[in-house]
Structure formats: structure tokens, C-alpha cells
């Protein structure tokens, strides 16, 4: 009987194919938009390094003036001053890894004449960066603590930079120029997929920066500091610190360096105690005029705050839900009209011995099939929608970010594809229940006398 009902269902779909196409199109377009938004939201909601993300904490100390506004979360709090980063790095925290990161830039160049010098964004950090964040290496490795301590001229290249500068070969031991400084390549990153670029608190979706160098080397070379300087009101024109006044910056109360600590649960309380003690000690020196306040925020909590702030995905998500619902209502109206045209046939089949459940099965197959085809085309439309959103994102970034940067955040994974199928079939089935119920309740005697 199933085979017979399958045959009848396919025959019904072929009958008046324009109606079938219209139903499939309504579902596919609605699903396409819905899945586009859901994919963006899904990708945006991914957490980098999910297995350790709750251990990686952003460290912030409140050294602001007394009159500053209360901070409710990390996003309203300033980062760390230079002197605090140096002091925290010296804390006797057994087993706790700490790193700092700030952005600079320069022209990366190699000796070969045919390679065009490349303006690059560079992260100044310390050796713990690579181990804390489990950065994958294609060649070589991160530098050691000596390189930090003695300000060695070493550099870690991203895979993309290594491809550009060295054609993708193992460049460890080779030399590159950063502006006028000669540095030795000590490692090359492999592809490092970050759902959110958290380490510089930009949180946007992109690949890592093009190179990494020791922070002390960057200071000694007086490389530009691409940061926002949150200074006490006594400091005028903090923008001057971007390229000048390094000595003054190092002793100022300007917060600008992002600082991270990897704190497994058993270390968290101990670390908090040490932060409290540190603030107390600094108070005795006349710093930290406010209450003893610090923020330790892990990556998950940071992203939760950021997601609530962005809100764009949520708004588009609501619109796409509504649009999908409208499309489904359209589809079900067509389905109802199509089924109701068939009451005479169903009445006849019931008179000839078809049970209600047989009629139910026949129409369920038809609805599920419409759901599957709608799902297939919906995935196709989702792909088109995501490509369109990729172009929008490129435009919105003034083409600073590349398609390759954004592609991972604009593509459906298998999980999303399976979800598209499930959503399509289950929603079509759900809204198809009413037409099916109507057709199954056609009385066997109701239409037989009709001419």
C-alpha cells in the first residue's frame, strides 16, 4: 500500500505542476532567508577554542579616577596600563599563564626584489600567547622567554604572510624586514580559525594578524601603537602616544594593553586574591583611587555581552522567522486548495474501500516530499543568500577584509544543512496537517452524486 500511495503522491505532484512549483518556491524562498540568517547567527555564536574558552580570562583593573562611571561589565572597563601589565607578569601565580597583546603595524619586506613590500598588521605579545591560545604552527614554533626578556628580533608569520613573502616554503631561519628592522622568522602559523578574533578585543570575524613579534622588541623599536588610550583626565591629548612619548606612556595611567590569563578553576580564586592584593599594594602608592575593583571575564561571557550589543543578527533573525512563517502560510493555502480540488476523488476512493489512514498516508507522503524538495531548494537559496551577505559584509568593511577572511562565517556546515532539511520537512508537515486533516475527513458519500 505504501508503494501505491507513493505512486499516487508523485502523480498528484505532477498534476498541476505550477501549483507544486509555487508551493516549493514559497517554502524554498522562506527557508533560504531563514537559513541565511540562522547560519550567520550560528557562525557568529560560535565560540573560539570552546574547550578552553572558559579558562581564558580578560584581565582588567579599574585604575580610573573617582568620578568615572560605574562599569557594569568588561566592555565598559578600561584595559591595563603598561606598568600594570609588567607588574602582573611578575605575580607569583604558580601554573597561571599570562599574556599581553597590542596592535602595531609596519611594512613587511624580504630581500627578493620581485616581492612587493606589504603593509601588515602585527601583534606585539609575549611567548605565552602561543601556548595559552594553542596557536597551530605549520613550521617552527613561538619564541621563548629569552626572546621576551632580551627583546630579540624574532617574528612569527601567519600562513598568509608566509605564502606571500616566501611562497609557502618553510621560512624558519630566514630574515624579513619590518620597516627598517631585520627580524628572523622563528615560526609560521598554520590556518588558525577563530570564530571571533578575541585576542585584540575586536571580536569581528577574520583570520589572525599577519605577524607576531615580542612586545619588548616592539617597544624598543618604537613601533606605532594602534590602540585606544584611556587616560586620566590629567593626561592631555592621549593620541600622541600612538607614535611618540613612549617613556611618558610607560609611566602614565593610560590603559591600552589587552591582558589575558589562563585560569583553570582551581587557580581562579587564588588569582583573584592576588589581584586584590596587588590593587591594595598600588593604593598605598597613591594609585587606584576607586574601590577595589577588577574584572576577570572569560571568552564565553565576553561574547555573550558582545552578542547582546550587536543585535543585528537577532533583528534579522526575527524578520526571517516572520518571513518564513508568511511563506509557509502561502504554501499551506495552495496545498489546501489543491487538496480540496481532490475531494471527489478521495470520496470515491473511500467508497471503494480506502481507509482514512490510507488517505492520510498518501497525503503525508506528498507533503513530506514537498518539504524535502523545498528544503533542497531552500539550501540553494541559503547559499545564494549567504553569498549576498558576504558581499554586504565586504562592502560594510570598506573592503578592508577579504572574501577569504569572511568566507568561513558565511557558509553552511553539515549541521546547518541537516537543520535546513529538518526545519523544511517538519514545518511543512506541521502546516500541512490542517489540509491533510480536511481531506482525510471527506465523507465517502459526500461527492459521489456530483456531476
Amino acid at each position: 500500500m505504501f508503494a501505491y500511495n507513493l505512486k499516487l503522491a508523485f502523480k498528484s505532484l505532477n498534476d498541476r505542476p505550477s501549483l507544486t512549483i509555487l508551493m516549493v518556491a514559497a517554502i524554498a524562498v522562506g527557508l533560504g532567508l531563514f537559513m541565511t540568517m540562522l547560519t550567520l547567527s550560528h557562525q557568529a555564536g560560535k565560540i573560539p577554542m570552546p574547550h578552553i574558552s572558559k579558562q581564558i580570562h580578560l584581565v582588567q583593573l579599574d585604575n580610573r579616577e573617582v568620578t568615572a562611571d560605574e562599569a557594569e561589565n568588561f566592555n565598559q572597563m578600561v584595559d591595563l596600563t603598561y606598568q600594570d601589565t609588567q607588574n602582573l607578569l611578575k605575580l607569583p601565580s604558580a601554573g597561571v599563564e599570562q599574556t599581553l597583546a597590542w596592535n602595531t603595524n609596519g611594512i613587511l619586506n624580504v630581500e627578493e626584489q620581485e616581492i612587493q613590500p606589504q603593509r601588515s598588521s602585527v601583534v606585539a605579545t609575549n611567548q605565552a600567547f602561543f601556548t595559552m591560545f594553542e596557536v597551530p604552527f605549520l613550521y617552527g614554533e613561538g619564541w621563548d622567554s629569552d626572546a621576551d626578556q632580551f627583546s630579540q628580533a624574532v617574528i612569527v608569520l601567519s600562513k598568509k604572510s608566509n605564502d606571500y613573502l616566501f611562497g609557502g616554503i618553510n621560512s624558519v631561519g630566514k630574515q624579513v624586514r619590518l620597516n627598517t628592522h631585520v627580524l628572523t622568522v622563528i615560526g609560521v602559523l598554520d590556518d588558525w580559525f577563530l570564530a571571533r578574533k578575541f585576542y585584540d578585543r575586536s571580536y569581528y570575524q577574520a583570520w589572525p594578524d599577519q605577524a607576531f613579534i615580542p612586545s619588548n622588541f616592539a617597544f624598543d623599536s618604537d613601533l606605532p601603537r594602534n590602540a585606544r588610550f584611556d587616560c586620566w583626565s590629567t593626561t592631555t591629548n592621549p593620541g600622541k602616544f600612538r607614535t611618540n612619548y613612549l617613556t611618558e606612556l610607560k609611566t602614565s595611567e593610560c590603559a591600552w594593553i589587552t591582558f589575558w590569563a589562563k585560569l583553570p578553576n582551581h587557580n581562579l580564586e587564588d588569582y583573584k586574591t592576588q589581584l586584590g592584593q596587588y590593587i591594595d599594594s598600588q593604593k598605598r602608592l597613591g594609585r587606584f583611587p576607586r574601590e577595589n575593583q577588577y574584572f576577570l571575564t572569560n571568552i564565553n561571557d565576553q561574547l555573550e555581552v558582545i552578542s547582546n550589543m550587536i543585535g543585528r543578527e537577532q533583528m534579522l533573525g526575527v524578520i526571517s522567522y516572520m518571513f518564513f512563517a508568511v511563506c509557509l502560510i502561502n504554501a499551506v493555502s495552495i496545498l489546501l486548495a489543491k487538496f480540496m480540488r481532490r475531494t471527489k476523488e478521495v470520496s470515491l476512493r473511500r467508497a471503494l474501500g480506502a481507509k482514512k489512514r490510507t488517505i492520510l498516508q498518501q497525503h503525508l507522503i506528498e507533503v513530506v516530499f514537498i518539504g524535502i524538495i523545498g528544503g533542497l531548494f531552500g539550501i540553494l537559496f541559503s547559499y545564494i543568500g549567504l553569498q549576498a551577505m558576504l558581499r554586504v559584509s565586504l562592502y560594510a568593511s570598506d573592503y578592508v577584509r577579504t572574501a577569504a577572511d569572511l568566507m568561513p562565517y558565511h557558509q553552511m556546515d553539515w549541521e546547518m544543512i541537516m537543520m535546513a532539511f529538518t526545519v523544511s520537512v517538519s514545518c511543512t508537515l506541521l502546516v500541512g496537517l490542517y489540509p491533510i486533516w480536511r481531506i482525510c475527513n471527506v465523507s465517502p458519500a459526500s461527492q459521489l452524486k456530483a456531476q
Binding site: M1, Y4, K11, D15, K344, E345, L348, R349, R350, A351, L352, G353, A354, K355, K356, R357, T358, S443, P444, A445, L448, K449, A450, Q451
Partner: protein, 233 residues
């Protein structure tokens, strides 16, 4: 074979109640050919729908082939309908997009016969009605009389004990009506009980027995005549 005792059928709306059949007492024996006549709106089709288990009734008992159908659920009624009853309609009610073979196949599919048995039965039924050479034709390629013969083939393919015919010649000219009537008589002679609703007195007289329905009440002429004979004796 078919026995109704005090069967009543009432159609209800919010405003009115319509007594379509009132306390019908009727017995139709195996192999009979019974015609049902009466004016329009008298309840003939309702009677046929009840007899064909297409509708339920409120009062009384109805025995079909010895089984009381009162209280049977929808599935049981469908099975009984499929197994015991063949339907012939005035407007043929063929599925226009299906070839004759597939039209005749419909009740056999719901009966659960295997492919070979279905094929044998379909070929046999179409042979009986004289359309075995046109199995793959569509109904639209046939005349009205031929379409009604296909409907008869569909009705007899499952070898039911009853054939219920609702104005089977109503849409046919006299020559075709004659052919269809002869076919029904032939089927009846092979043992199938036939109940035929008709407006045509001439055709009604060709049945073994005539039942008249007027205003929802059944007047069984054969039974009345028997009663008169008993009284005169």
C-alpha cells in the same frame, strides 16, 4: 442477506431536522435484483448510501450478509464495503487521468491483493464488460456507455456479493442503457445481488422486485403483495 429493521436516518443542522428515512424494515435475499424507485428527494440515494455503508444511521439494526453493521468503526466499515459491495454511479465516477486498467485496480489495491491476482481480476472483469482490448485507454477516449461498463467492471472485479447502482443508466441514451441493463442482468444471473435506484419505470419492471420510497418511507411492493395474498387466503 440484507436486512434492515426499523432503520432511520435523520440529517440535523442547527435549525432543522430532516427525516431522510423513517423506520425502514426491509429484507433482500441473496441473488435478488431489486429496483428502488420514488420521486426526487424521497430518500432513494440516502437508502443506497446506508445500504452501501457510506453513511451511518441513528436508529435500528442493519445486517449485511449476516453481520450487524451498527457500531462498526470507520476502518471496519471500509473493509466491509471493499469486500462485499460494488458501486455503480450515474456519473460513472471514473478517475479521468487513469487508464481503464488502473481504474478497475483501485478497489483491488485497497483489498490487498497481490499484483498477479489483481491483474487476473482486472482482465477478467474487463472481459466480462467487453472492454478487454482497451485496458490502456483513458476514460475520456470512451463513450458514456463504455465508461459505465468500466465502472461495472470496477464494481465486480472484487467479486462482491452486492452491487449497488445509483441511476446507472441516467446519463445514457436508450441503446446504451439497454446494453448496461443487459450486463447487470447477466451479472445478477451469476449470483450477485443487485439493488438499483432508477427513475425509469421500464427498467424498474425488469427487476425481480420493486421498492418504492416516498417521503423517507419504504414501501416494499413484493412484501405488500404477499400480505394481500395471505389476507385473501
Amino acid at each position: 442477506m440484507l436486512k434492515m429493521e426499523n432503520v432511520s436516518k435523520i440529517y440535523r443542522t442547527n435549525l432543522i431536522e430532516t427525516h431522510a428515512l423513517r423506520k425502514v424494515d426491509l429484507h433482500i435475499g441473496a441473488g435478488e435484483f431489486v429496483s428502488v424507485t420514488g420521486p426526487s428527494g424521497s430518500g432513494k440515494t440516502t437508502f443506497l448510501n446506508l445500504a452501501g455503508l457510506l453513511e451511518t444511521f441513528e436508529e435500528g439494526d442493519f445486517y449485511l450478509d449476516g453481520q450487524n453493521v451498527k457500531g462498526l468503526n470507520d476502518n471496519q466499515l471500509s473493509e466491509l464495503r471493499n469486500e462485499k459491495i460494488g458501486f455503480i454511479f450515474q456519473s460513472f465516477n471514473l478517475l479521468q487521468e487513469l487508464p481503464l486498467f488502473d481504474n478497475v485496480d483501485v478497489p483491488l489495491r485497497y483489498r490487498g491483493f497481490n499484483a498477479k491476482e489483481r491483474k487476473d481480476r482486472i482482465e477478467n472483469a474487463l472481459e466480462i464488460v467487453g472492454l478487454s482490448s482497451r485496458m490502456q485507454h483513458l476514460p475520456t477516449q470512451l463513450s458514456g456507455g463504455q465508461q459505465q461498463r468500466v465502472a461495472i467492471a470496477r464494481a465486480i472485479a472484487g467479486q462482491p456479493k452486492f452491487l449497488l447502482a445509483d441511476e446507472p443508466t441516467g446519463n445514457l441514451d436508450s441503446l446504451m442503457a439497454q446494453q448496461v441493463m443487459e450486463l447487470l442482468e447477466k451479472i445478477n444471473q451469476q449470483g450477485t445481488t443487485i439493488i438499483m435506484v432508477t427513475h425509469d419505470d421500464q427498467l424498474a419492471r425488469r427487476a425481480h422486485r420493486n421498492i418504492q420510497i416516498f417521503d423517507g418511507q419504504v414501501s416494499d411492493l413484493a412484501q405488500d403483495q404477499t400480505d394481500v395474498l395471505i389476507k385473501s387466503e
